[in-house]
């Protein structure tokens, strides 16, 4: 029977073309706009590292005390980054399976040929790569030995490796960073968690941009006094000079720890509280120890990375979709009422109410598919337009991916179109089944 209904539906498209076209256009426009918005929303707010997001944690310690919260509208506020002392102490304590302090910095690359250029990198410990499951295409991360020795080793990002060594094997070669040679020990694959949850506060960089160009050991970066590319917040006038800055209460470092089991989470929290209490004993703090632990999704939500405008856009797209669907219901009512004669005839010939109902729904399904295809075209156009507006196409792969359609979204779009249209058609179809065969046969 379904095949028959499909045939009827397709042939029926030609009848009352105007209404059909308007319905398809309405569904397509509504779906197109909503899916464009949803694609972006999904890309920006999804789980960036689903297999581990519940095992990776950011601790926060109250290093500035209740005084720092006075006059702040948020009475829960804690410094979002770490002091040098705390970050290094926590890393060296080794209380989690993996842990690493880190910060983003820039260095000048002097390639063998051509002019020097600046690259953006991350200074961190060897554990970073295992902790975040960073995929390597070549070599591996450095080890504890290189961390302890403050050695000149570097792991290259895919893009920088390609730029510096287009034809040769990068492993074992040297790269000149800030006029010093670093030995390449590994090359990572293109890796762009979205959002880049471990680095949400970098200055001048979007949380959704590309990953780092290179990685060097934390101790090495500190030796070379590299400035952090991110906010440095000091609770009062900081002492001048690098050494004094390291020993001050200025916060500028990030720290992440991997705690795979709930028991480890509990014991780490205990350790953290103990650490804070210890600092209080030693006279560094004068207030009760206050600590907090966030996992990846908690941290993303806490940091409010998602631009407010994306949320507002989704609401507007939803409103637009509602209007389009309301439109479709009206148009389908109109269309089915126009077919009262034909439907009455079918009922007179023996079709049951449910037959007529199914036939109308099949009509709606066909329209839904066509509307979905149109909607898909509109979504693609819309996303292309968004990319154009933001000047994104020339940029990193990560940014382009935010505004691109992947196969799952295509399937979702088509399914949504069909589902929406069929849902809209339910009431009109029900009304159509109530058509009296006798009346229709009588009125010629």
């Amino acid at each position: 029977m379904l095949g028959y209904y499909l045939e009827l539906a397709i042939r029926g498209l030609r009848r009352n073309v105007m209404l059909t076209v308007l319905t398809i256009a309405a569904v397509g426009a509504g779906i197109g706009a909503s899916m464009a918005m949803l694609t972006t929303l999904r890309a920006m707010s999804g789980d960036p590292i689903p297999e581990k997001s519940a095992q990776l944690f950011v601790p926060l310690i109250d290093v500035w005390g209740p005084q720092s919260r006075q006059g702040n509208s948020n009475s829960d506020w804690l410094p979002q980054t770490f002091t040098y002392r705390d970050a290094v102490a926590l890393t060296k304590a080794h209380k989690g399976t993996h842990q690493a302090a880190m910060f983003r910095m820039n260095m000048d690359v002097s390639p063998p040929t051509g002019t020097p250029f600046q690259a953006s990198g991350r200074a961190t410990y060897a554990d970073f790569f295992a902790m975040f499951d960073v995929p390597f295409s070549d070599g591996a991360a450095w080890g504890q030995h290189e961390d302890d020795g403050h050695q000149n080793v570097v792991v290259l990002g895919a893009k920088l490796a390609q730029r510096l060594f287009p034809d040769t094997e990068p492993l074992g070669r040297t790269v000149s960073l800030n006029a010093r040679d670093y030995r390449v020990v590994g090359v990572v694959r293109p890796w762009t968690p979205s959002p880049r949850f471990y680095d949400l506060f970098s200055a001048r960089r979007s949380s959704y941009g590309d990953s780092e160009d290179f990685f060097i050991p934390f101790s090495n970066a500190i030796d070379r006094q590299l400035r952090v590319q991110g906010a440095t917040n000091c609770n009062g006038p900081p002492p001048p000079g690098w050494e004094a800055r390291l020993n001050s209460e200025c916060v500028w470092l990030q720290f992440w720890v991997e705690l795979p089991t709930a028991a480890q989470v509990r014991s780490f929290r205990t350790y953290l509280e103990g650490y804070a209490a210890e600092q209080r004993e030693s006279g560094r703090f004068h207030w009760p120890p206050l600590v907090r632990l966030y996992d990846v999704m908690g941290w993303i939500e806490h940091s409010q990375v998602l631009p407010e405008s994306v949320r507002v856009n989704v609401v507007i797209a939803a409103g637009f979709l509602t209007v389009c669907l309301v439109n479709s219901v009206g148009l389908m009512l109109a269309k089915l009422s126009g077919r009262a004669g034909e439907l009455g005839l079918r009922r007179a010939l023996g079709a049951s109410r449910s037959d007529v109902f199914l036939q109308c729904l099949t009509d709606a399904m066909v329209i839904g598919v066509l509307g979905g295809v149109l909607g898909l075209g509109l979504t693609v156009t819309g996303l292309w337009g968004l990319r154009l507006l933001r000047g994104v196409d020339g940029q990193s792969g990560a940014a382009v991916r935010l505004y691109s359609l992947d196969w799952s979204m295509v399937v979702i779009t088509l399914l949504a179109a069909v589902a929406a249209t069929v849902a809209c058609a339910v009431y009109p179809a029900l009304r159509a089944t109530r058509v009296q065969p006798a009346w229709q046969l009588k009125a010629q």
């Binding site: 000048d108 006029a179 900081p238 439109n327």
Partner: protein, 398 residues
Amino acid sequence: MLRALRRNQLGATLIALQIALTLAIVSNSLFIITQYVQHMRTPTGIDEANIFTFSNAWVADQTDLAARIEADLAAMRALPGVIDVEATDTFPLSGYGWGWGLRVRPEQQYPTAGANRYYVDDHALSAYGLQLIAGRWFTPQEVRPTTLNDSYASFPEVIVVTRELAKQIFPAGGALGQIVYFNPQNPARIVGIVERAQTPYMGYHEDNSSFEPLQFVDNQLYYIVRTRAGQLAQVMRSAPQRLYELTRQRVIQDFRPFSATRRQAYLEEQVNTVLLAVVSALLLAVTAFGVIGLTLYWVAQRRRQVGVRRALGARRIDILLYFHTENLLIAGSGCILGIVLGLAGNAWLLFRVDGLTRMSPGYICIGALLVLGLCQLAVLWPALRAASIPPAIATRGL
């Protein structure tokens, strides 16, 4: 007419609902767009059309940074078409900056006003093209060196503030010559006031800037170059060339005219403006098509009645008016609902989005009138079709 509407209750309700939603969304969207457009035109107070910026860093740490920076500045200032050049770290709309709370009395616990600090030298007035309205700029002797690492701990003895910041610190006026305190040990005298200088941020009311005679001596700095009118493109070519002549061992990045900085700063709002405009246009189109479609259907459904009316003496224009009035009733009730929804939506938006002001009811009423007009236009074609139904229809099929 009301009886006809009651028979077609569902269709009429749907159209009215659609019109209401459309009015609510479109009026709010247009309102947001006007706010954004206005915001994007906020002047920074500097000579934007003739300024370009770029970052410069020498490869590897250097020991004679002060001399290198001086040499760069001197070389660029000597170029034809250049009014002045400045070496610093932040500038209006750059997106990041330094802040500090200023106090009028040293023992104050909380600051009187927050200031955005610009670290400049004696050339900055002409390098930015600022407008001095009181007092003076800095003399070369007042400028002292500092570094990015020490910037937080370096304080000047004289500062220049914007008119807005002066008003915030000294609401009663007379800021010129007064002392402000960075902290109890660091007083500074206000020696000059400029008309306007936006902070590095693109928010609302971002005009509380202070200028301090502290020159950064660091490896990586931004050069701000101001050219004579019409010479921007030419100097953008000659300046890097001249710098590379001094040494090639440098990295020049982020090279862009100020218009690009402005565009980058307001990018989010620009995108949203276009998005909202497109969605509004589509929404109006979809609603108009809905009105056309449904009215066409009603015309078809009431062919017999229209024919009877014509046979009984109604003129074409009467049929036209009939359908137009019916549409007016439906669209009218939709608009009233839409005004309510629109104002509610506006309240929600005020809650969620920064910097919007309340939409006046008059604004949305004008929108309602426009939507009514659009609906009337949309119903014209179906109504004309109805009007052309021949009276003879009435005699058929009895």
